[in-house]
């Protein structure tokens, strides 16, 4: 038995849904960021899997998209965690349910 594209896609869908679970059901801002990272990683796995199983794997398009996506995810994590620290300085909490006012 060999690995098929469907199996890889199901695994990446499961990873995406775990990320969605973390982003939706946790109150802590860092957990929400972790969930977003997991969802981005699942999308990257899909890119690489479609490249590997595609009809023309000589052109490394999927790999290139995955590399750029990892770079952008790193930038997003840096800015997101900086926002978490800035919010914590202001409110002394990072539970997103308590951040319910527009005025500082």
């Amino acid at each position: 038995m060999t690995t098929t594209l469907s199996l890889v896609l199901v695994v990446s869908a499961a990873l995406f849904c775990v990320g969605l679970l973390a982003a939706l059901s946790r109150r802590h801002a860092i957990f929400i960021l972790i969930g977003i990272e997991l969802m981005l990683a699942a999308a990257n796995i899909n890119f690489v899997a479609f490249w590997r199983f595609g009809p023309q794997p000589q052109e490394p398009t999927g790999v290139m998209v995955a590399i750029f996506s990892i770079a952008i995810a790193a930038a997003e994590a840096a800015v997101g965690l900086a926002l978490v620290i800035a919010v914590y300085r202001h409110y002394r909490t990072i539970e997103v349910d308590k951040l319910d006012q527009l005025k500082g």
Binding site: M1, T2, T3, T4, L5, S6, V8, L9, V10, V11, A13, L15, F16, C17, G19, L20, L21, L24, S25, R26, H28, I30, F31, L33, I34, G35, E37, L38, A41, N44, I45, V48, A49, R52, F53, P55, P57, P60, V63, M64, A66, I67, F68, I70, A71, I72, A73, A74, A75, A77, A78, V79, L81, A82, L83, V84, I85, A86, Y88, T93
Partner: protein
């Protein structure tokens, strides 16, 4: 491509992700996240994209996980308290997973076996980065610089008035 190795890697990755999403203590979740990132890198190796796997280890394990741990240490005061678990998110996540799995398993046009290819070398990736993808590369460089400056500005001490 043997299926057993893939299944072991996938189960390890998903278990780490589930632990990272549900553990009550933030620092435990961050450590489980590192396991997940290693599992994802192993998946890339398994799929024949060795360079992406290495980039994943360098960027995610080396930078993002350390950044998350630093943020946890900088912001932990009364943050360990967690209220009742939000089950609406669980329901939505399970529903989305069922929908996606149904769609994947009912798509008939998916290729079954991976074609034989020669290994994708770093030399080839470098060539492509410097020819076809040179403008995206410059844009990503600009974006990373802007993100660095933006993060610095965000966490700078506010001026006391």
């Amino acid at each position: 491509m043997s299926s057993a190795a893939f299944l072991v890697i996938a189960i390890l990755t998903l278990a780490g992700a589930l632990a990272a999403a549900t553990l009550p203590k933030l620092i435990h979740a961050a450590l489980c996240l590192v396991v997940t990132f290693f599992g994802i890198a192993a998946l890339y190796f398994f799929l024949g994209a060795e360079f992406v796997g290495l980039v994943q280890v360098f960027v995610y394990v080396g930078a993002v996980a350390v950044l998350i741990v630093f943020t946890i240490l900088l912001t932990r005061r009364e943050s360990e308290t967690t209220g009742p678990f939000n089950w609406g998110g669980v329901v939505i996540a399970v529903a989305v997973f069922c929908g996606l799995t149904w769609a994947i398993l009912h798509t008939s046009a998916l290729p079954q076996a991976a074609p034989q290819i020669e290994a994708l070398t770093v030399k080839r990736i470098g060539e492509v980065l410097m020819t076809d993808y040179v403008w995206p590369l410059q844009c990503v460089g600009l974006l990373l610089t802007a993100a660095l400056l933006g993060a610095l500005v965000l966490v700078m001490e506010e001026k006391r008035r």
